[in-house]
């Protein structure tokens, strides 16, 4: 109880000394549940809907509290009471998206809550106007120039308050958002960190921080409050930074301490598995998730990607219809439908749906990349290049777009030109064998066999997904008449295939046996030669060895 009341005091008085409501351990789940319920209410009152949703979802996953432990509503202060009428009216206007009107009636309010809502409605009004104005601008060059006019004023006012240390956790969050929108990333990070110290329970601040941190080094130098929320943050950011092992570890811990029912965590785990291409696990988790939360739309685009990779047509079709029924004007829905059409090889329609997704949210970068893939399928290389470029503009770290660009130029028979793109993709995913194999193929086409060999070897070393690197390496050795190394590669290849025990078509198996037979024959190792030759006979395509 003491802990929860301290949050209120923080929220209400915004004292300069942050009082931490929670420690890092998860021993007291009831306390955590209380905190979550409280923050869900606080964020809802301030119109921070997504944070409220997150907290409520998480609270739902914990066992219900008995009546005796239920929270009384936070005490109302004198200031709050004064602004009560204005706040109630404004909140109603705010809820129906009449932001200017809300701001007008909140002008001059002194309580923290009313002040936040006042600033927040001004911010949202600016954003809304910006979106509206993009439609009719004066000229093509002006299109990108439309900006939220309110941002500057908000920044000036908020920075004054910030310097006077009058901002509470929510105020700091809003200040950070304004700074980020003005591209003042460094300042924004500082403010968000401060916000997490003052009000650690507000997930929105953590999430904003996630978007601003670009690498592990930056993360190391942040001084974050030591609370249980930090665990969620770390897990989330590890997923974002592609540090999947660490992320999975964190999520497992969270499940172990009692959050096993949280659909948020389950979906994050599924996304993490998707990122490391562990398709089966990701699929089963997503299926589970859909059972728990059948009307969930978030992350379903990832799910559809998985279904697409596995070519599960019927499941994908079911998912698409289902989502379309729930809400057909969601980005994720459009993406799922796009994937569905793509799997059915109706690429024009697929591209259309990805375009629709982009209209709904121009910053949804996955759609740009997917659209690029569709154009590639339609052999419309120039449109594909455009789509990939857009994807890169939205996010420079989108390795699939770089890879796609590389593929496009490879199709255009420009192996040297596409090297650059593959290299960029490789830089972003140094341990992904597909880029390495692609690089190797390009080098091979350019007759740079030494480089090609290095690429293939590295691709094998980082764990080859498609199991083709070794064969290609072996063939290169064969070309260079390095029979010893070639034989070694073929042996490794065969060992690899048999050890992983997958029943996948391996066309090159016969080639491997055939070469090995010849090799042993040359080395006068007759037994081995005949063994290999016999294996060879099992395949249809090499019935005629010389």
């Amino acid at each position: 109880m003491a802990a929860s009341s301290s949050i209120v005091s923080v929220a209400a008085t915004a004292s300069s000394v942050p009082v931490l409501p929670s420690s890092c351990d998860f021993s007291n789940l009831r306390e955590i549940k209380k905190q979550l319920l409280l923050i869900a209410g606080l964020t809802r009152e301030r119109g921070l809907l997504h944070s409220s949703k997150w907290s409520a979802e998480l609270a739902f996953s914990l066992p219900a509290l008995p009546l005796s432990e239920l929270q009384p509503p936070p005490p109302i202060t004198e200031e709050d009471a004064q602004d009560m009428d204005a706040y109630t009216l404004a909140k109603a206007y705010f809820d129906v998206k009449e932001y200017d009107r809300a701001a007008h009636f909140l002008h001059g309010c002194n309580s923290k809550k009313a002040y936040f809502l006042y600033m927040y409605s001004r911010y949202l009004s600016g954003e809304k106007k910006k979106d509206d104005e993009t439609v009719d601008s004066l000229g093509p060059l002006e299109k990108g120039q439309v900006k939220n006019e309110a941002l500057r004023e908000l920044r000036v006012e908020l920075s004054k308050k910030h310097q006077a240390r009058e901002l509470d956790g929510f105020g700091l969050y809003l200040y950070g958002v304004v700074l980020r929108k003005l591209d003042l990333v460094k300042e924004a990070i500082d403010v968000f960190v401060e916000a997490t110290h003052v009000l650690p329970l507000h997930w929105g601040a953590w999430l904003e921080l996630c978007n601003l941190i670009t690498d592990k080094e930056m993360l190391k130098f942040l001084s974050l409050p030591d609370t249980w929320m930090k665990e969620f943050f770390l897990a989330h950011i590890y997923t974002e930074l592609q540090l999947i092992e660490e992320a999975l570890q964190k999520y497992q811990n969270l499940i172990d301490v009692g959050f096993s029912k949280s659909s948020y965590i389950v979906s994050q785990i599924a996304v993490a598995y998707h990122n490391i291409r562990d398709i089966d696990k990701a699929l089963s988790i997503f299926n589970e998730l859909r059972k728990q939360d059948p009307y969930r739309i978030e992350n379903m685009d990832t799910f559809s990607n998985l279904l697409y990779v596995r070519s599960m047509k019927s499941e994908l079709s079911y998912l698409a219809h289902n989502l379309c029924e729930i809400d057909k004007y969601r980005v994720e829905t459009c993406c799922v439908i796009g994937n569905y059409y793509s799997l059915r090889s109706q690429h024009e329609k697929a591209a259309l749906y990805f375009q629709r997704a982009l209209k709904l949210n121009p910053r949804y970068l996955g759609a740009w990349t997917l659209m690029g893939h569709e154009y590639m399928e339609m052999k419309n290389t120039s449109a594909a290049i455009q789509a990939y470029r857009h994807a890169i503009e939205v996010n420079k770290r989108d390795y699939r777009a770089w890879y796609g660009l590389g593929q496009t130029y490879e199709i255009l028979k420009m192996p040297f030109y596409c090297l650059y793109y593959y290299r960029r993709a490789h830089q972003l995913r140094p341990n992904d064998s597909r880029m390495l194999v692609a690089l190797g193929e390009c080098y091979e086409k350019l007759n740079q066999l030494v480089e090609a060999k290095k690429c293939y070897w590295r691709a094998y070393a980082v764990g080859d997904v498609e199991k083709m690197a070794l064969v290609k390496l072996a063939k290169l050795h064969e070309q260079l008449t390095e029979s010893e190394q070639a034989a070694q590669c073929y042996i490794k290849y065969i060992q690899d295939i048999y050890s992983c025990g997958e029943i996948v078509e391996h066309l090159e198996e016969s080639t491997a046996f055939r070469y090995l037979a010849q090799y042993y024959f040359k080395c006068k190792l007759w037994d081995e030669a005949s063994a290999c030759a016999q294996k060879c006979c099992a395949f249809n395509d090499v019935q005629d060895p010389d």
Partner: protein, 706 residues
């Protein structure tokens, strides 16, 4: 009436302004109008004020009035006149605007007006504002500083036309006069800004590529180049006029440009791969023009090979066939350069250059004209004709570029100017005019800042001149320290200079080793000039180690080479060396007759140092050959020798060769002694003593120095 006038003014001045640059401030606009059309200025001011401070309807009224000016039996503006076209254009654009856009236009106008007003008011206010107010203002400013900065960085929206103008202006400045363009950092900032607002503006990426080249940033320039072509491919595909063709075309040129980029950064292998790709794609689509460009690049990349001139000949022929004058004459120029190194006669080369010059003037390819003159300068210098070289260099510098006539941009940032100026500096240094040379170098430094593309040329030239001066001065340690710098810019030159320093420091075996290595390398790469220089150094090594007989065949080889390649400067130096060898071998008469052959070109075109050395040698030979004569004749010969020595001394004094002066003075003293002129002898002896105390003695017998 005033309405009409203001209308006329805005329509008359606006096109002039809008087509030439970004928005100008209100005060500037007023000033411009006042200058060009004073009677209108006031009414324009009133009209703008009226619109900006009034209401929306005032602006609407303005446009309504505007369309009236075409109607009536005697319209105020003709529909087809320039002004009329502009007005109609404006009206059309205005009537296309939606309601909210009209309002936006109006607020933009208001803002423009207010900004202009504020500025003028601010200027006046500054003095009036009380101290107190100033302080308050300061406070406010502090808060606003960072906001203002970002405000400045996105200095208002540019229209498509304005952005294009900005880009083309900066690009042409980069090409012609880099110092006048924005600094790399600020230009990049502008470009980033432009791209932030409109990522589809592909040309900005190309300028960003050029800008990155300025600061030698491989990574960013590759990025920008590829980005540009990715975007271009898109626009090429969109414009249906050239359809598939336009799309493929940009692909080819993308690969070609990538090759050029790698070549620029010295990644020759990469460049070759990219070029092969470009060639392959161009061949597949039968693009002969692109293939021609590829062929020229192929030559550039394959220059080191001996048979590259075949490529070039093909290239020239084909380029003429396809009507590409630029490529053709560029090819001819490269061919001339190549042939000059291969020892073709000057008249043929000059003929070829003259023919291509005709082409240039016909097509007004001013860039190539400059190159041609710079090339002539270089060729004359190669042949050792310093006067001709000097004349050509001066001609290039004092010539008015063709561009300046129509664009007002003087082309003075090109490689040809750098080359000509470098030659000029070296020529002056050769003649001992070091002040003039350093003046030229200073100018070069200003015109080609150290990080620019052609800066290496003058850097090398500067170091060489410093090196030569240090060697003349006998400051070998200083020269040695310069060698590293030279090696960084030109490794072969560096090795040669290192050997020269070693030789001067009496480290004969090291010098010999280095020279032998260098000789083999240069013979392989057919660097004839350097081969001869190395041979001369080797010969010097031999006689300094007292074996002049071995030096003779080396010298003869050098002589044959320099005669074959018509390198007069080197030839006469070889003759000088040969004569000296003969002198040492005790046949001064032969040496003297040989010298008479070489002395004329040396005195005419040679460097001051060479002139001094030649005169000194002549004197030595005269003395040596007079030894066996009868006393009267001998005295006469000695007198002549003293005269020559005086001349030599003068030459040496010009280039501060103290060591040589010391030797000359010593020699003179001896001669005066023989002639019994005690007073003169004592004077010379004293001079010698002074110099001898200043200079370290290197342990080489005087007689063994040329």
């Amino acid at each position: 009436m005033s309405a009409y006038l203001s209308r006329f003014a805005s329509s008359f001045v606006m096109p002039a302004l809008y087509s030439t640059g970004p928005d100008i401030t209100l005060s500037k606009l007023y000033k411009l109008i006042e200058e060009s059309c004073p009677q209108l200025a006031n009414s324009v001011q009133i009209r703008i004020k009226l619109m900006a401070e009034g209401e929306l309807k005032d602006m609407e009224q303005f446009f309504d009035d505007l369309s009236d000016s075409f109607s009536g039996t005697e319209p105020e503006v003709h529909k087809t006149s320039v002004v009329g076209l502009f007005l109609r254009h404006m009206i059309l654009a205005y009537s296309k605007l939606s309601f909210s856009q009209v309002f936006k236009l109006y607020t933009a106008l208001q803002q423009y007006f207010q900004n202009g007003e504020k500025k003028t008011v601010e200027d006046a206010d500054m003095e009036l504002a009380s101290r107190e107010e100033g302080e308050r203002k300061m406070e406010k400013e502090e808060l606003d500083v960072s906001i203002r900065e970002e405000e400045v960085s996105c200095s208002g929206p540019l229209s498509q036309k304005q952005a294009e103008f900005f880009l083309s202006q900066q690009a042409s400045l980069l090409k012609n006069d880099e110092t006048k363009a924005l600094t790399p950092a600020s230009l990049q900032k502008e470009l980033n800004n432009l791209l932030k607002f409109n990522p589809d503006f592909a040309e900005a990426h190309y300028l960003s590529y050029l800008n990155n080249l300025r600061v030698q940033d491989v990574f960013s320039s590759t990025h920008s180049l590829l980005h540009y072509f990715d975007r271009l491919i898109l626009t090429g595909a969109e414009s249906k006029s050239n359809g598939e063709e336009g799309y493929g075309r940009s692909l080819r040129y993308a690969a070609l440009n990538l090759a050029a980029l790698h070549c620029r950064f010295g990644h020759y292998q990469q460049a070759e791969l990219a070029l092969q790709e470009a060639i392959r794609i161009a061949q597949e689509s039968n693009d002969h023009v692109c293939l021609q460009h590829c062929l020229s690049w192929l030559y550039v990349l394959g220059q080191k090979r001996s048979d590259s001139y075949v490529l070039l000949e093909h290239s020239v022929k084909k380029a003429v066939h396809f009507g590409l004058p630029y490529l053709a004459s560029l090819g001819i120029q490269s061919l001339v350069q190549q042939r000059a190194f291969a020892g073709k006669t000057a008249n043929k080369l000059m003929d070829a250059l003259k023919d291509s010059d005709l082409l240039h003037w016909k097509h007004s390819l001013s860039e190539l004209i400059d190159i041609s003159i710079a090339q002539k300068t270089a060729i004359w210098r190669l042949y050792g004709r310093s006067t001709m070289a000097l004349q050509q260099a001066q001609m290039l510098l004092s010539m008015n570029s063709l561009e300046s006539v129509n664009a007002g941009v003087q082309q003075n940032n090109t490689e040809s100017f750098a080359v000509a100026l470098c030659h000029l500096a070296e020529l002056h240094a050769e003649q001992g005019c070091f002040a003039a040379a350093s003046e030229v170098l200073k100018h070069l430094k200003e015109r080609f800042p150290p990080n620019s593309q052609h800066a290496q040329l003058w850097m090398l030239c500067d170091q060489k001149i410093q090196f030569d001066r240090a060697m003349n001065d006998g400051k070998y340690h200083l020269a040695d320290s310069l060698v590293t710098g030279i090696t960084a810019l030109n490794s072969i030159e560096g090795v040669y200079r290192k050997a020269v320093v070693l030789q001067a420091q009496n480290q004969m075996s090291e010098a010999h080793k280095l020279l032998q290595k260098l000789l083999i390398h240069c013979q392989r790469t057919r660097h004839t000039e350097m081969v001869i220089s190395v041979l001369l150094s080797v010969a010097e090594l031999y006689w300094r180690s007292s074996s002049p007989t071995i030096a003779l065949p080396v010298l003869l080889q050098a002589l044959a080479l320099s005669k074959e390649y018509r390198l007069q400067h080197l030839a006469s130096e070889t003759v000088l060396n040969l004569a000296f060898a003969q002198l040492i071998l005790g046949i001064p008469e032969q040496a003297l007759s040989l010298l008479h052959m070489a002395i004329e070109p040396i005195l005419a075109d040679g460097a001051v140092l060479d002139k001094g050395r030649a005169m000194f040698l002549v004197a030595k030979c005269q003395v040596a050959s007079a030894a066996s004569c009868e006393p009267l004749k001998k005295a006469e010969a000695l007198e002549a020798a003293i005269e020559n020595l005086n001349e030599a001394k003068n030459y040496f004094a010009k280039v501060d060769c103290k060591e040589q002066i010391r030797d000359v003075v010593y020699f003179q003293a001896r001669l005066y002694h023989t002639l019994g002129k005690t007073q003169e002898r004592n004077r010379c002896a004293m001079l010698f003593r002074q110099l001898h105390q200043d200079l370290p003695f290197h342990g080489v017998p005087l007689i063994n120095l040329l």
